[in-house]
Symmetry: C2
DNA sequence: TTGGAAAATTAACGATGTTAAGTATTTTTA
DNA sequence: TAAAAATACTTAACATCGTTAATTTTCCAA
């Protein structure tokens, strides 16, 4: 029955068009410019048509949040080959910060906006799959670090949360303009080298202080 | 000329009424329920009257953000008496986390929402005074910790940002529902003891790992 | 008492997300 | 192939939002 098959393909195509349009809007014009009507304009359909493919705006944002995790995953492909778990941990942090500063709109919908979590709450299996996966790879690395004496042994969950918290804290403060006026040269902006350098220094200080393996280097 | 004086007092009173109404709304009903019309309803004036006392909604939110810092300052009065800088640092973190979990709406407008920073950008002297003051007391404590050998000596700014980043990261992840599904007992909610305990453990692990003063205790 | 400033209101504009009802289009059935 | 049924899409509308312009009411001074 090739006919329903084709129809489903068309349906998926339009879904993709909608998501592409949303992405274009929020990457190029920022989050608040992602509106149902502008999306409809871009794909040249009427606003209500969008509702035939997505339940509501939150569902669109949920899908964008998923695409964000996909994009972040791609950036993290350079981690697998790093043997030393502490070096890997540092690179993970560096990747995370870079991703956030380079893709502030994606970062926003992944870790700051309410919308995707609201969608999650109304699903039958309402786990935050993407968050769990990401956190688990962090935990794994933290565990390796503890086993090899790079990190003080202790509650792996607590330690992982510290580290995630730290990098998320830096990135989200930057994205929400809390560091613009605080970091030395007054004219910082997201993507600015100064900001990134400062954040890398913070990460560096943290991991150096935390490193228990005698004096490394 | 007591007449213009009284008028100014009345003007201030209405300003206060507006801010009180806004606070009531966002504390009791959450951020997105703070609307100009609801504020007007509460103070029993027409919506446009609010604009005679505040330039726009952002300016109201800016004032709420200021009140938040005031409230946070009150909570931190228990710090002055703590001699040991590392103990003080821990208490600072604990206070910060508690404040965030107990006043999520205040925390939101202080450290997450765009609005207050947008107001700042259009002021002549556009420093983020409140942020700077708070960060400076943190820096001071970090410096003391370094001088007394509790923390690895290094860039004070970087170290301070690490610590602020960490606690802000934890609180903002919690406030934006990123920890609800992640922390063991599935039914976490803001204000929940589990969440708070987990965060304290993270803070604890962090500061213990970072502590350089031989084996304390 | 009246004229003018100050304070407050009404009405409206252009957005927003979303729903209900109606129209085209396409597919299935007789 | 023509009628019936299902699908796809649009138009119109609702309630809400922040905000501005024009208008009315209130109040004080000459």
């Amino acid at each position: 029955m090739g006919i329903t098959e084709r129809k489903e393909k068309q349906k998926l195509e339009i879904k993709k068009m909608i998501l592409d349009a949303s992405m274009k809007l929020f990457v190029e014009e920022g989050f608040e410019h992602v509106t149902m009507r502008k999306i409809a304009d871009l794909i040249e359909y009427s606003p209500t048509t969008v509702y035939l493919y997505f339940k509501d705006k939150n569902e669109i944002l949920y899908n964008l949040h998923e695409l964000g995790f996909q994009k972040m995953g791609e950036k993290n492909q350079n981690l697998a080959e790093i043997e030393n778990p502490l070096t890997r941990l540092f690179k993970m942090g560096e990747n995370y910060i870079e991703f956030g500063l380079e893709n502030p709109e994606f970062y926003d919908v992944m870790f700051i906006q309410h919308a995707p979590m609201q969608v999650l709450e109304q699903m039958e299996n309402c786990d935050w799959k993407h968050g769990e996966i990401a956190l688990n790879t962090l935990k794994q690395t933290v565990e390796e670090c503890m086993q090899q004496g790079f990190l003080k042994k202790g509650n792996i969950d607590a330690a992982s949360m510290s580290i995630w918290g730290m990098v998320h804290g830096l990135v989200s403060l930057a994205i929400r303009q809390r560091l613009d006026k605080l970091c030395p040269p007054a004219n910082n902006f997201i993507g600015n080298a100064n900001l990134k350098t400062m954040m890398r220094q913070s990460l560096n200080w943290f991991l150096n202080s935390v490193d228990q393996s005698g004096k490394k280097k």
